[in-house]
């Protein structure tokens, strides 16, 4: 009984281990977008409308990304700041829903689509500082490294694997240290950088 148990656990372990390892060896940065499932949100927020048609900077709404570990979902106040003055769409169902929440002072319970496990500490601020501030790369490109081509999508959806192997594949590459420097450096590869 004991040996059977041990063997079966071993086999299950190896199988699941190897199968996920196979998935991990995909060339990471070139993974196709739209990996995550469609998730119903309380309001179907059209990212394309805002990021492409209006050309709004990602960090205009996700303002916390440059000063905190999390990018944050903008407060309703932020949405209202513009939409209060945009008469043309005020009677659209989604905007009506927005106004309803605002009038009731009731926050919107969005569904998380980028929920890393609790033992992973991803820091938005560090990445924004590195790529946008130091290397002066376009904001949409930098956010797109992890979030895909947001301006072409509507409701937010996870686009990349966000697995450890995928993170590491980028951290193993050499990046220029700033926009003018010839010197390059890798992202940190110490365990404790993410697993504190």
């Amino acid at each position: 009984m004991r040996h059977f148990l041990r063997l079966s656990i071993l086999l299950i372990g190896l199988f699941s281990g190897s199968s996920s390892f196979a998935a991990d060896t995909l060339p990471p940065v070139n993974t196709a977008d739209d990996l995550g499932p469609q998730v119903d949100q309380p309001i179907e927020f059209p990212h394309n409308r805002h990021a492409k048609d209006m050309g709004i900077n990602c960090m205009y709404c996700h303002t916390y990304a440059r000063r905190a570990p999390v990018a944050g979902i903008p407060p309703l106040q932020k949405c209202m700041g513009c939409h209060n003055g945009i008469e043309s769409v005020k009677d659209k169902p989604r905007i009506k829903e927005l106004f309803k929440h605002w009038d009731e002072k009731k926050p919107i319970a969005w569904k998380k689509v980028h929920d890393l496990p609790d033992y992973v500490r991803f820091n938005h601020e560090r990445h924004v500082k590195r790529f946008i501030v130091q290397q002066d790369k376009p904001v949409q490109e930098v956010c797109g490294y992890c979030h895909g081509d947001v301006k072409e999508g509507t409701v937010a959806r996870r686009q990349k694997p966000l697995s450890m192997g995928w993170c590491v594949s980028c951290h193993e590459k050499a990046h220029p240290t700033d926009k003018t420097a010839q010197a390059t450096a890798q992202g940190p590869n110490d365990c404790w950088q993410c697993h504190k």
Binding site: G13, G17, D40, P69, I73, K111, L116, M164
Partner: protein, 732 residues
């Protein structure tokens, strides 16, 4: 049970492979979740609130009566971690484990969340408070009693006003493990209940059973002073600590010498030291010299069990190293002659000339109405006597759990039934709330407003401000202040109509006094926000002074031993458990006792010699029986206790108080004998005599400590003696 066919090694192998499998698959897609959890954004965000970044608020710790200042880290509207407030002169940026667990008291899953009747029916607040009003109609003031823990600040004022409005004088203050005898003897000896102790200035400290590093009065403050005392910051060199106590505490374990004098003979030793000092040429007033002349070294040695050589050495150290500091704590006071013991220790201080040097006049908050009313077990006795006589019809309890912590001989649980209507203001259903007819649920200390004045003021006198660190977790809890304000409004609506809630009352009261609180010239809002951001108000000191004149002390003859109960029970106040009110916090249950390292249980501590005589080994379940009751607990063999005594910690053995406390360990309060300090009427907690017998059961003691002999991973790390060969009283 794990059967033999599946042993530990196999288990670890399977675990190892399974763990590896999980680890490998963890790198895949399985652990990123899509659309499972919610992310709720703010409707309107404060400028200073950034998701993922902590904001810090100052408040005051409510875990014990030391009133340390705290700083709470709040993220996304939830309090996560507490630290000490560096601006507080009590704890100067540090915080103890008990204080840290304040967060867990707040998030405790067993909190009461709605007003409820004794039968457990939920009520709304209007109905609950309406019931109180209804039950109070036609009841005279004498028939109403309010039992609280130590109170200070505006809550005390409000309670006083409520009792006045009801025409009742029956406010009883009860603290099960209070230094109440010390207060009285200090008042007598120095003219002040709580003089400031300057451990850092002393060259030698002799502590008679005061566990000042663990659980006594203001341990965080004393620990910092102790560090300076050892480093020689203000006393010119490393200080020497001698601890005299029959049961080793954390302080005893840190001492240079731990002397287990016979229990109850601390006063004899103190007078003997005075006599020895006189003989060594220290000038002593003649009346005092005459009064201690009977305490020659031989006699003192015989009474206390401390060798004559050690007494002489101790006297020599005290003479050579001045200023010194002598402290009497719980270990010396819990006797029928506890007051005399404490007085003898105070006299030793006076003879040594320490008053004014290491025993200083304390800082005093110049608002006597806010000063703490501190009680002890005398308050409980008076409350219980009233109940037994059937005098009280309506009884309130707040911050006290007498049904758990009153000794069985008081029959308090039965007496409480004589009161027709019992209201418990409680944050969890403890033993007292379980008997109540109405339970009013309290906010946690992280949710409520308050002002606290510490009984032991170190450095600058200040009023601690308690402010909510986050929104209420449950909509239907209220702070004690809000409940009292609603109750007092029932009686005197006009006087309090200006105050919508306790916050308004508190803010009004503090802002009104801004002139004398350093806020002259500021507008109200500015002053109030300064107060909130610092978490305290410095008040300036009212003058206080100490009396230095000494008067003689007489000690009673030693009690005769009772052959039927040969051992003395020395209940132990554990630094994290104290009187048991925090037994429902798993962090505290889980943190090992500093000496025995035992977790999640009670134990009976006994000397190896005593254990050998009784044939008891570690883990034996033993029954400890006194005249008044008995408990069963695991035996722990420890050389740090007097051979004629056993020790059991307070705090466990709850029959209520939620999932973490219920059924853990044994309640030693129940078995205490009815002996009281003759002067103060405080329960003499060390006067219980017991016998110990084996029950035949044995368990593995769950503790952090390794086996004696010191081996780790198969390697001998330190040559250690087996515990029965150690004599700690001879160690340096």
């Amino acid at each position: 049970m794990i059967e033999n066919e599946f042993n530990r090694r196999d288990f670890l192998k399977v675990l190892g492979w399974g763990g590896a499998a999980v680890a490998v698959s963890g790198c895949g897609f399985t652990s990123v979740q899509d659309g499972v959890e919610n992310v709720v954004s703010y409707v309107e965000a404060n400028e200073y609130m950034i998701p993922g970044i902590g904001v810090y608020f100052n408040s005051t710790c409510a875990q014990c009566d030391a009133a340390c200042g705290i700083t709470g880290k709040v993220r996304e509207g939830r309090v996560l971690k507490l630290e000490g407030n560096a601006a507080s002169s009590i704890n100067r940026g540090r915080l103890c484990g008990l204080g840290q667990a304040g967060v867990q008291a707040h998030y405790n899953p067993d909190r009461v969340t709605e007003p409820r009747t004794g039968k457990g029916e939920k009520l709304d607040w209007e109905k609950a408070l309406g019931q109180v009003k209804e039950k109070l109609t036609g009841v005279s003031g004498d028939e109403i009693a309010f039992l609280t823990g130590n109170l200070s600040g505006h809550l005390k004022v409000l309670l006083g006003n409520y009792m006045d409005a009801l025409g009742s004088k029956n406010h009883f203050v009860y603290d099960a493990v209070a230094p109440a005898v010390m207060r009285a003897s200090n008042k007598k000896a120095y003219g002040n209940e709580m003089p400031a102790l300057r451990l850092d200035k002393a060259k030698v400290i002799v502590s008679f059973g005061a566990d000042f590093l663990g659980s006594w009065v203001s341990p965080v403050n004393f620990s910092q002073q102790y560090a300076q005392f050892r480093k020689g910051v203000n006393n010119g060199g490393r200080g020497v600590l001698v601890q005299i106590e029959p049961k080793m505490t954390l302080t005893g374990a840190n001492a240079d010498r731990w002397i287990p004098a016979n229990p109850g003979t601390e006063g004899v030793l103190a007078l003997g030291l005075i006599n020895a000092l006189g003989a060594a040429g220290v000038s002593i007033p003649s009346d005092i010299a005459a009064s201690v002349s009977a305490y020659g070294v031989e006699r003192v040695s015989k009474d206390t069990g401390v060798s004559a050589e050690q007494i002489q050495k101790l006297a020599a150290v005290l003479k050579e190293r001045s200023p010194s500091l002598v402290i009497a704590g719980g270990g010396a006071e819990g006797y029928a002659h506890g007051s005399q013991n404490a007085a003898a220790v105070a006299l030793l201080n006076q003879v040594l000339g320490n008053v004014g040097k290491t025993v200083e006049a304390p800082s005093v908050v110049p608002f006597p109405q806010l000063a703490p009313t501190a009680g002890g077990t005398a308050g409980l006795k008076a409350f219980n006597d009233g109940l037994a006589a059937g005098k009280f019809k309506v009884v309130f309890t707040l911050g006290a759990n007498p049904v758990y912590s009153a000794p069985a001989f008081m029959k308090l649980a039965d007496n409480l039934k004589k009161a027709a209507f019992k209201v418990a203001l409680a944050d969890a259903i403890d033993e007292t709330a379980a008997q109540a007819d109405l339970v009013l649920p309290l906010d946690s200390a992280m949710e409520s407003w308050g002002t606290v004045v510490a009984e032991y003021q170190a450095g600058d006198a200040h009023i601690g401000i308690q402010q909510p660190l986050m929104e209420r977790l449950y909509d239907n809890t209220r702070s004690a202040g809000d409940i009292l304000l609603s109750l007092v409004k029932q009686q005197k609506a006009d006087d309090y109509k200006a105050f919508e809630d306790y916050y308004a009352y508190l803010r009004g009261a503090v802002v009104q006094a801004k002139g004398s609180l350093g806020g002259a010239g500021m507008d109200d809002d500015e002053f109030w926000s300064t107060v909130l951001s610092s978490g305290m108000v410095k008040t300036g000191n009212a003058s206080s002074s100490l009396r230095t004149s000494a008067s003689a002390v007489t000690l009673p003859a030693a009690a005769v031993a009772d052959a039927a109960f040969p051992l003395r029970l020395l209940p132990y106040v554990q630094p994290s458990m104290r009187d048991g009110r925090h037994a429902n916090l798993p962090w505290l249950q889980e943190s090992p006792d500093p000496l025995t390292t035992i977790v999640w249980d009670s134990w009976v501590e006994m000397h190896p010699k005593t254990a050998a005589k009784l044939g008891i080994v570690e883990g034996d379940i033993v029954e400890v029986t006194s005249k008044s009751g008995s408990i069963k607990a695991q035996a722990y063999i420890f050389p740090g206790i007097h051979p004629d005594a056993v020790s059991v910690p307070f705090g466990n053995g709850h029959t209520e108080l939620g999932r973490y406390a219920k059924g853990v360990g044994a309640n030693v309060f129940q078995m205490l004998d009815p002996v009281f300090d003759q002067e103060t009427g405080e329960l003499a907690i060390n006067e219980t005599h017991v016998k110990v017998s084996k029950t035949g059961k044995r368990v593995i003691v769950v503790k952090e400590e390794g086996a004696a002999g010191g081996s780790q991973a198969g390697k001998k790390i330190a040559g250690r003696l087996a515990s029965n060969n150690v004599d700690l009283s001879k160690e340096v």
